[in-house]
């Protein structure tokens, strides 16, 4: 699964990996805003962004080709609009959508490939995102794989009993979703009881405390500076 690969990459120890997550989130937002406001796309600048993001990937000691491939997840949707733009006689608009979508996805992949999920949530918290929402995200992420595996097992079991998934009756599939819900509900209560037994009072303790060092500021300037300069050149 893609998120398992991102999690593996995020455990690196490069300069980018060690930076304060808030610095990385802010840098990613600046890059995304710069890309989003490229209208029309200045192709040399788009290429420069691509080279810059590739250099960032290399400096973070990440597999360049695989990171770029991970960003192509957005391309099928973008291609539909590119074809529509081509049919409407504005191919440059379609190409611009592809370029912007791919560069934006590459930025998000880079952010996630250099920041572990708990660190990302800590960074969002330091940027004053609602703690309640972040806690829900934390639990969601923790039990995502467990329930997805359970749903997959139920789907396979149903397929082996009924031939193929497609011939499952509607109600039977709804029943399967109901059973999955029942299991998830029971699991949620068991989790809470276990956490309450360990002293959970609504706040999840942090094992790593981040401090904003001069190196984090240098990282932010090193990313934002060239990106904003390129955006300025694009006109």
């Amino acid at each position: 699964m893609r998120h398992a690969r991102l999690e593996l990459w995020s455990r690196g120890t490069s300069f980018a990996h060690r930076r304060h997550p808030a610095a990385k989130i802010t840098a990613a937002l600046i890059v995304l805003v710069s890309i989003a406001t490229l209208r029309p796309v200045h192709w040399r600048v788009a290429l420069a962004y691509f080279v810059f993001l590739t250099a960032m990937t290399a400096s973070a000691r990440l597999p360049i080709l695989r990171v770029h491939l991970a960003a192509t997840a957005v391309l099928p949707f973008a291609l539909v609009f590119a074809v529509l733009s081509l049919a409407a006689g504005t191919p440059e608009r379609g190409l611009a959508i592809i370029a912007r979508a791919w560069l934006s996805a590459l930025t998000t992949v880079l952010l996630m490939a250099t920041t572990t999920q708990p660190d990302l949530l800590a960074g969002l918290e330091s940027l004053h995102a609602p703690r309640f929402l972040l806690q829900v995200m934390q639990f969601l992420y923790r039990y995502l794989l467990v329930l997805v595996e359970e749903a997959g097992a139920m789907r396979d079991a149903a397929a082996s009993r009924a031939g193929t998934v497609g011939v499952l009756e509607f109600r039977r599939a709804a029943g399967a979703a109901g059973v999955l819900f029942g299991r998830a509900w029971t699991r949620a209560n068991a989790i809470h009881q276990a956490m309450a037994a360990r002293g959970f009072t609504g706040q999840i303790p942090r094992f790593r405390v981040f401090r904003f060092h001069p190196a984090d500021l240098a990282f932010l300037v090193a990313v934002a500076g060239p990106v904003v300069a390129l955006r300025f050149i694009a006109g």
């Binding site: 960003a71 957005v74 973008a78 995200m137 969601l140 050149i233």
Partner: protein, 300 residues
């Protein structure tokens, strides 16, 4: 329905972010104040459940299959405020981990699916007191509202779509909404059998604002679609009413037309306007958060 980055124009993603971020802050505070801390694991696991339930294929006829989107179901199970937070958590996770939807477009996706979609779904559920018809309409309205808003935002952003494509899209949305309605009803009925009383029927005191919010959402989504299909309509109406001058003077600001008018260079001007938009969102969220905290302290 997850809009990636690069599709929406700056006015659209800034406007939806400005609406969505403070709303999520307010809903998070509201959900937090209403629930015990034991609801946090429950909400997280419910989010994971919706993710997992999207893996279960439902036969939709002609050899095709569909899957649950889940906004309406969550609203019926947890109430609209909590459901909006769980949907926001799902959308953020999808954008960050699966590149399903963009980060700048997260505001648009949250507004469409987690706010408007959930509340529009909760309206028929609340009005029809949790009946099977109410459950069906909850799924239908939720998906239809989210899809109409997404389509409108793309059209307003200037994404090329021939009229035939818009018609096909609307027909496809209607079919998907019917399937979502049937799925919501079937899954909720199965849940009630397994776990009686799990559906969160509205309390009398909370009903009025839910109805108003959901009705406003429905009206807004259809209004957006009309405005986006005929963008000159609003302008001609303003002209006929003699409002053009007043409207333009009202809208003229240092960041009007999503450009920083005090900066000569157009590129830098747009970038500064975009950054300013993000700062405005941040300040709005902090203000909402502090105002809420102050209200709570006074009430305590």
């Amino acid at each position: 329905m997850h809009i990636p980055d690069g599709y929406l124009s700056t006015p659209v993603w800034v406007a939806t972010d400005v609406v969505a971020a403070p709303t999520v802050f307010w809903l998070a505070r509201r959900a937090q104040s209403k629930f015990d801390h034991h609801r946090v694991p429950l909400m997280g696991v419910m989010g994971a459940f919706v993710f997992a339930a999207q893996m279960l294929n439902f036969p939709a006829g002609n050899g095709t299959s569909s899957h649950l989107v889940g906004g309406a179901l969550l609203g019926c199970l947890m109430g609209p405020a909590a459901a909006s937070i769980v949907m926001t958590a799902i959308l953020a996770t999808q954008a960050l981990l699966f590149q399903d939807g963009g980060l700048l477009a997260l505001g648009a996706n949250v507004f469409n699916m987690a706010i408007a979609g959930v509340f529009a779904g909760y309206l028929p559920f609340a009005l029809l007191k949790g009946s099977r018809t109410g459950l069906f309409l909850a799924g239908f309205c939720s998906l239809m509202t989210a899809a109409l808003l997404a389509l409108s935002e793309l059209l307003v952003s200037g994404v090329a779509m021939p009229p035939a494509m818009i018609t096909v899209s609307l027909a496809w949305f209607a079919v998907s909404a019917l399937i979502e309605g049937a799925l919501t009803m079937a899954v909720a009925t199965a849940l009630e059998r397994i776990q009686p009383g799990c559906l969160r029927r509205p309390q009398s005191g909370s009903r009025a604002w839910v109805v108003v919010a959901a009705a406003a959402t429905l009206l807004a989504s259809f209004g957006w679609l009309l405005a986006s299909a005929k963008p000159d309509g609003l302008q001609s109406l303003a002209l006929r009413a003699g409002l053009t001058g007043r409207v333009s003077s009202l809208l003229s600001s240092p960041l009007g037309e999503y450009q920083a008018s005090f900066i000569a260079n157009p590129a830098l001007s747009r970038t500064v306007a975009g950054m300013a938009g993000l700062v405005v969102i941040y300040v709005l969220c902090t203000a909402v958060s502090r105002a809420w905290a102050a209200t709570r302290r006074e009430g305590a």
